[in-house]
């Protein structure tokens, strides 16, 4: 039902400009936000940032162009700060399991995801790639998930 497969960096190249910006930023900074805040802000609208925890990972940020904003609207995305899950809990558990792995391992992972999600009573199939990576603020560490639906392939940052 949920199919999550590991991919190499090559799978993201040319897929969407936000992936290129994020990979470049991670390469330059190692995930330390203070090292290049301007570069970080370039892909922030597509990003989700969570603080990984075994009982669920509360949101620090949910961008206006991220999947929750696209599926449920910007108001819902803005209301997720401090919350531990998107409205579809089963989906959330399946895709959130790797946040702890990335936080503990300290390394980015790239995945292709195929899964169903329930949005306002309708189950729809999702196909997307995501880059999950450590995001290091001054006070603590979090995990960023840059997930972009495959239908948006080849779009620029504009």
């Amino acid at each position: 039902m949920y199919r999550i497969e590991e991919r190499s960096q090559d799978a993201l190249l040319g897929r969407h400009a936000a992936f290129g910006a994020a990979l470049s930023w991670i390469g330059r900074t190692g995930g330390v936000v203070a090292a290049d805040e301007t570069g970080f802000e370039r892909f922030l609208p597509w990003l989700q940032i969570m603080v990984p925890a075994p009982g669920g990972s509360p949101y620090l940020w949910c961008g206006a162009k991220s999947p929750p904003a696209e599926l449920w609207g910007l108001e819902l995305a803005n209301s997720l700060i401090g919350e531990r899950a998107v409205p579809d809990r089963e989906f959330d558990r399946a895709v959130g399991a790797d946040y702890l792995r990335v936080a503990r391992g300290g390394k980015a992972i790239i995945q292709a995801v195929r899964c169903p999600i329930e949005v306002r009573g309708t189950v729809i199939p999702l196909f997307y790639h995501r880059l999950v990576f450590p995001v290091r603020f001054r006070g603590f560490e979090a995990v960023g998930s840059l997930a972009i639906f495959d239908v948006h392939r080849l779009q620029s940052l504009g």
Partner: protein, 81 residues
Amino acid sequence: MPTSVKAQLLSVLQDAGIAKLNELIEREGLGVLTRGLVKQLYDVPSFEDLTPDQIAHFAQTLEKLDFVARQVHARPTRKAG
């Protein structure tokens, strides 16, 4: 609510919001997120452009950010060995 009482309440909320904002930026390094939130939530370039009502609303969001950050700091650290 009388206008003067409302003005006083907003003033308190503004002061609390600014104090919390500075704390999150200085202590946690979340300046990039707080700036992003101002733009995403209210479509204005900076905190200084928010209206008193927006500042009062923004203060609630900052409290949520602060709550998450404090939970991280409150977690027990794993002992070596």
